[in-house]
């Protein structure tokens, strides 16, 4: 479920949320721990969408919250906490991808798609089917997203996977709104033309 800064969330109202951020900003560890509880899954998924490896996503999520905890006092506007978290997260993801590219110079195997658990070939359990579907889904997503430029991909993910508004995306990526709209428009145009995407969308909507 997406978390909004301005609307009611799974627990508490916007005013409560702002109060929580302000308390965390003043050094209240318990308040920050509540923010972690509220954002943990959301940030983890956001990382996973880009890394597509559960273990790496967990490590990066830990780093993101640690960084946020160290820098929370520097946040100027408590209402922009989510965008601020996203900025930290994107920087961490970029760092990880940079290191991964460097490591890949010395390796030949593709570690992008991770197998979550070994699936027995003759297994007819529902979990096994779900696992196969999941892996296939992320493989398809990887292929589709690779057809977009890095900026188009990022804007697309932030808009439709992370549910950020155009204004929030512009703040997170430090670009103006018209630039974001242009990239989103191009991403959607490519998206609509791609037969693999249409097929996947049909499977998804069925």
């Amino acid at each position: 479920m997406a978390i909004s800064e301005n609307t009611t969330t799974t627990s508490g109202t916007s005013a409560q949320f702002v109060s929580l951020v302000n308390q965390a900003k003043d050094g209240n560890r318990a308040a920050f721990a509540q923010l972690v509880d509220r954002f943990h899954e959301y940030i983890f998924r956001m990382v996973f969408y880009r890394i597509r490896s559960r273990m790496d996503a967990e490590d990066i999520t830990q780093d993101i919250f640690l960084k946020a905890y160290q820098k929370i006092s520097s946040i100027k506007d408590a209402t922009r906490f989510r965008g601020w978290m996203f900025s930290i997260a994107l920087n961490r993801i970029r760092d990880f991808q940079r290191k991964k590219r460097f490591r890949s110079l010395f390796k030949v195997t593709d570690e992008n798609i991770e197998s979550h658990a070994p699936v027995e070939a003759d297994s007819d359990q529902p979990e096994a089917l779900e696992q196969v579907l999941r892996e296939d889904f992320w493989r398809q997503i990887g292929l589709i997203l690779n057809k977009l430029s890095s900026m188009e991909r990022e804007v697309f993910l932030l808009r439709f996977f992370d549910h950020l508004s155009i204004n929030e995306i512009a703040r997170v990526l430090k670009k103006n709104e018209s630039t974001i709209k242009t990239h989103l428009y191009r991403a959607l145009a490519k998206f609509k033309k791609e037969p693999a995407i249409r097929q996947l969308l049909n499977e998804v909507t069925q």
């Binding site: 920050f32 721990a33 559960r54 999941r134 709209k181 145009a189 609509k192 969308l201 998804v204």
Partner: protein, 184 residues
């Protein structure tokens, strides 16, 4: 009705409507508000994208590790500032200063050692040349010189002449002997 049909949103306008409907021209916005068919196309595409996002959420794994925050610390400002980055920075600076200091000291020592070494080499060469010259003058070691009386101050030139008369005197003496004369 025909006019409305002609004004249906094309693909570009449909995508534009998804990105931000407010950016569409007023006439297109008005058409979208009235035309059920165009509205349905837009809503279908929006739904597809929303489903896509939901499916991603569904197929994303759950995190298995909890986020661990650092233990509550009541550190002073000094210790807050002295985090690991600062510590690395300080260590690097100290190392750089030491390297520069030691580097200049070593270079200085080397240069001093270099000039001192040159002087000692010259002295050594001079000492060797003196020895060589001494050997040229007299190759016998001191011990043999003493045996031979070379170093005895009592043996002067007159003594040696007495001991080994010059050849002229010898020749003169032999001549006189041949002629049957004597010196006395």
């Amino acid at each position: 009705m025909k006019r409305d049909h002609e004004n249906h949103l094309d693909e570009k306008q449909l995508i534009q409507a998804i990105v931000d409907q407010a950016d569409l021209p007023a006439s297109v916005q008005a058409h979208l508000a009235k035309c059920r068919q165009c509205r349905l196309r837009k809503e279908n595409f929006e739904r597809e994208l929303a489903n896509f996002g939901q499916m991603a959420e569904r197929y994303a794994p759950q995190p298995q590790k909890r986020v661990r925050l650092p233990a509550h610390e009541t550190k002073s400002t000094f210790w807050t500032l002295l985090n690991w980055r600062s510590a690395i920075g300080v260590a690097a600076t100290v190392a750089a200063v030491l390297i520069v200091f030691w580097g200049t000291t070593i270079v200085r020592n080397l240069s001093e050692h270099g000039t001192g070494g040159l002087a000692s080499e010259i002295l050594e060469a001079q000492r060797l040349m003196m020895e060589v010259n001494m050997l040229v003058d007299n190759a016998l070691p001191v011990f043999y010189l003493e045996i031979s009386g070379e170093n005895n101050p009592d043996y002067d030139e007159e003594f040696y002449q007495f001991l080994i008369p010059p050849i002229e005197n010898e020749t003169l003496t032999s001549d006189r002997w041949k002629r049957g004369t004597s010196l006395c």
